[in-house]
């Protein structure tokens, strides 16, 4: 065995050990147990929790990933054929499974529930596939090896086919996970036959899963592969026709967005309301962080200001009682109060912005973090209790009344105003991004000193970023207040700032499309997967770390960011060239001869 092969095996085993530890971790924190009852693919006889559960998918993920990585490495070095790559990946997976099997035997023999609560005998039985622990361990070894080998085979497909297969797997998983949402929708739009074919109430049926995967692969192949007839047809479409089609697609998209409350349950509308709210917050913060490069960790302050301002201005005095009614019982309508709320939010933006004008980077982040906490403590404080209701908050905020439509009574109906406001926020961000203002912000983000020396009044533009970002945060807060009809200090925790920032990072700093995707994934998905519950932040953290390592530019990066993070090699090359240049040494002696 030569040295390269030896190192290939050693690295494969190392990868397997890491995957094994990841599997043990997932089981130990309880993630596997929590999802052991969540079916992805229904069992054929309709018995048991399902053929494949989300718990099993999670457990298989580490083996799948190392399969991809190991095969990719072998392919990259060109040291092996497809079969040997699959074999090495299988070995890697089997090592992971072996480690996990040993762990399984251990927890079957020793009760460690005192430390690891989730490691119950029930879990052990599930993990052992209902067999004796030793048999279960062997099954795990074989299964992990098989999963890794499968992943390796997928990795060895050529780029387009690989993308198609991975997309198919991803979409089947997503549809299965969203069963509680999709199933009632299919019922409402009178597609009972489709519903019963796809879902059993305990996961996706096997034929439906196969059909879905087939459709995704067919779609990806036919639209991407250059030799496919569909692709050729698409390429032949004229530019003008293409634009018409795009406009048509956009209209259909808008109609789908508008139709959601009619087909979906109230719960879905509510989740989407939250998504829209966070979308507005993220678009606002994106102006501050993504465009102007000012890392604000206390963005929740604007959300709180908007919500409290709206609450205080519109709340009916009688329900508030106390001295507050005399002071603040304005009982304005939403539309009268809204401009005032936005102006207040903008002013708060200026007030927060002014003292931090000279701070950059980490210092700015820490100070704004403090501002966010101050806002939370202040709104819940005894001192402001007469005005803001202290820990009880502001109650009796009236429903939103839309002129010509009437009062919005159920929380789900707030879906439309939030869509409208979010659309406004997106329009604002889009307009500003490629304009004198947006360019000034970006120049400031790139190099503040030079921006100023190029003529940008950095003081004004920083304040403008804080004020406009604050206004969008205040707008979201105002809507939040009328939808909830009460405003509590407990809604304005640090985690709101963190989530909003995470949305921007996940989506791709500075792009509107990315922000929308980020809001759907980070706010929408956890609501759809209620089981996540306490694991939500674990998954956030893991997702963000994974993003930073695998795709630091975000899901939908701007052209700029992508180039920035993936063309380092070019940059290095350039640097090298400039250093090699002999004329760089100064001063030259030419003049001395004179």
């Amino acid at each position: 065995m030569d040295a390269t092969m030896q190192s290939t095996y050693r690295r494969a085993i190392n990868a397997g050990l890491i995957a094994g530890v990841a599997m043990i971790y997932l089981a130990s924190v309880g993630l596997v147990g929590a999802f052991a009852e969540r079916p992805i693919i229904a069992s054929i006889g309709g018995e048991g929790p399902g053929l494949i559960t989300l718990g099993r998918v999670m457990l298989a993920t580490p083996a799948f990933l190392i399969g991809l990585i190991v095969a990719g490495r072998i392919r990259g070095t060109g040291t092996g054929t497809g079969a040997s790559a699959a074999a090495v990946a299988a070995l890697s997976g089997a090592v992971a499974g072996l480690l996990f099997g040993v762990f399984l035997l251990l927890i079957a023999a020793v009760d460690v529930r005192g430390v690891f609560l989730p490691l119950t005998p029930a879990l052990v039985e599930t993990l052992a596939f209902g067999q004796e622990p030793i048999v279960g361990a062997i099954i795990n070894v074989l299964l992990a090896g098989a999963v890794a080998a499968l992943a390796a085979l997928i990795r060895l497909l050529d780029g387009r086919d690989r993308a198609a297969v991975l997309a198919a797997i991803g979409i089947v998983l997503l549809v299965a996970m969203l069963e509680p949402i999709i199933r009632p929708i299919l019922g409402r739009v009178e597609l009972d036959a489709v519903r019963d074919f796809m879902f059993t109430g305990g996961g996706l049926t096997l034929p439906a899963a196969a059909l879905l995967a087939g459709l995704v692969i067919a779609y990806t192949w036919s639209t991407r592969h250059p030799s496919s007839p569909v692709r050729r047809q698409l390429d032949a479409v004229s530019d003008e026709r293409r634009r018409q089609l795009q406009i048509g697609a956009a209209i259909i998209g808008v109609l789908i967005v508008l139709a959601v409350p009619f087909v979906a349950t109230g719960f879905v509308s509510l989740v989407l309301f939250n998504v829209g709210l966070y979308l507005m917050l993220a678009l606002g913060l994106n102006i501050v962080v993504g465009y102007a490069g000012l890392l604000d960790l206390g963005y929740v302050a604007f959300f709180a200001v908007g919500a409290y301002a709206m609450g205080v201005l519109t709340s009916s005095a009688s329900s508030m009682g106390g001295p507050m009614s005399a002071l603040f019982g304005a009982e304005w309508g939403f539309w009268l109060a809204l401009p005032v709320v936005l102006i207040i939010a903008a002013i708060v933006g200026l007030l927060i912005g002014a003292p931090v004008l000279r701070l950059r980077g980490d210092y700015l982040a820490i100070v704004t973090l403090g501002f966010g906490e101050i806002a939370r403590v202040l709104v819940g404080s005894e001192a402001l209790r007469p005005a803001l209701g202290g820990p009880n908050g502001v109650v009796g905020v009236p429903n939103l009344t839309i002129p010509g439509f009437g009062e919005l009574t159920s929380p789900g109906e707030y879906y439309y105003p939030v869509v409208a406001f979010a659309a406004f926020a997106a329009y604002m961000a889009w307009r500003l991004s490629n304009s004198r203002t947006g360019r000034a912000w970006m120049a400031m983000r790139e190099d503040e000193t030079v921006a100023q020396a190029t003529g940008v009044n950095t003081t004004n533009y920083k304040l403008l970023a804080f004020a406009l970002g604050g206004t969008l945060g205040g707008l979201a807060g105002a809507l939040f207040a009328v939808q909830l009809r009460t405003v509590f200090p407990g809604s304005f925790l640090l985690i709101v700032s963190i989530t909003v920032l995470a949305i921007i990072i996940l989506g791709g700093m500075g792009t509107i499309r990315g922000v929308i995707a980020g809001a759907l994934i980070l706010v929408g998905l956890p609501e759809a997967l209620r089981e996540f519950g306490e694991y939500r932040f674990l998954v956030y953290g893991a997702a963000l770390v994974a993003m930073m390592v695998l795709r630091p530019e975000g899901l939908f990066p701007s052209k700029t960011r992508r180039a920035e993070l993936h063309e380092e090699s070019d940059e290095d090359k350039q640097l090298g060239e400039s250093f090699q240049d002999p004329d760089r040494a100064a001063p030259t002696a030419t003049g001395a001869n004179a």
Binding site: R439, M442, S578, D581
Partner: protein, 275 residues
């Protein structure tokens, strides 16, 4: 080896008495270190002036004070009849001064075109609320600025193909050119170039020298450059200012500087003896 003849002197005679920059008794101290001490000089309109001196002589500090990057400890800087000492940099840009940097400082993660567009910032008037409504005046201004930016790319010799590339991905020499285009976008009267030919090969250096001459000829600019390449300095400047240890050592025409004994001793002489 002889120097190249001064290409421009004689074709454009600086109007005497019409000074674009007057520096009087300028002093800058950094906690004990005197970077510039009692510096006096003037720069006639439409002239090309070089500032030379050994490394650490205070040339860049002088530039930084003129452009408002740092505030002088004492002394005054009068630009085009206005005392600019202590004004913030963006105000000075507005008055018609622009600069480049010794170590190229572009907005690396913005496109080539966007870099030039930012340069035009001070000559634009669109406010954010107008931008939100995309008013006709905003549209006109954007169109006009785009066209102007492309013209500047042509002027400095940057291919329009690079317009949508990130600034940091441009070749080194083109980055220097882009920095000049960005500076020109603010329609300056006075252009300060900090080592414009540093790191360039002889062909590129020639192009840069030609460009500087052209800027004066076609745009009527006054150019002050810090430069180490004596061939460039002697070839292009009407006047030369020599700094040494933060003090003004000599000022005069290339011929005067070349024959000035203290300059030879302090700056050229060291190399002449070591060579």
């Amino acid at each position: 080896m002889s120097h190249a003849p001064a290409q421009e002197s004689g074709t454009v005679a600086p109007r005497t008495g019409d000074l674009v920059l007057e520096v009087t008794a300028l002093t800058k101290r950094f906690e004990g270190l005197v970077a510039n001490h009692d510096i006096n000089f003037t720069i006639p309109r439409r002239s090309i002036v070089s500032v030379i001196g050994p490394n650490g002589a205070g040339k860049t500090t002088l530039f930084n004070q003129i452009t408002g990057f740092i505030e002088p400890t004492s002394g005054t800087i009068v630009f085009d009849g206005i005392d600019v000492s202590g004004l913030p940099p963006h105000k000075i840009v507005e008055l018609g001064m622009a600069r480049t940097y010794q170590n190229i400082r572009l907005f690396h993660n913005m496109t080539t075109l966007a870099n030039v567009l930012v340069g035009h910032h001070v000559r634009m008037s669109a406010q954010w609320w107008q931008i939100l409504f995309n008013t006709p005046s905003v549209q006109r201004e954007e169109e006009h600025t785009d066209a102007f930016a492309y013209e500047l790319l042509d002027l400095v010799g940057l291919s329009r193909r690079y317009a949508d590339d990130l600034a940091k991905n441009l070749p080194y020499g083109d980055q220097r050119r882009l920095e000049i285009a960005r500076a020109l976008a603010s329609r300056p009267k006075l252009l300060l170039l900090d080592e414009p030919t540093a790191g360039m090969n002889p062909a590129e250096t020639r192009q840069m020298t030609d460009l500087i001459a052209r800027l004066r000829r076609e745009l009527g600019l006054t150019v002050v450059l810090i430069e180490h390449d004596m061939k460039v300095v002697m070839g292009i400047s009407e006047r030369i200012t020599v700094l040494d240890y933060g003090e003004l050592l000599a000022e005069g025409t290339p011929e005067e500087i070349r024959t000035n004994p203290s300059v030879i001793e302090a700056y050229l002489g060291k190399q002449a003896t070591s060579a």
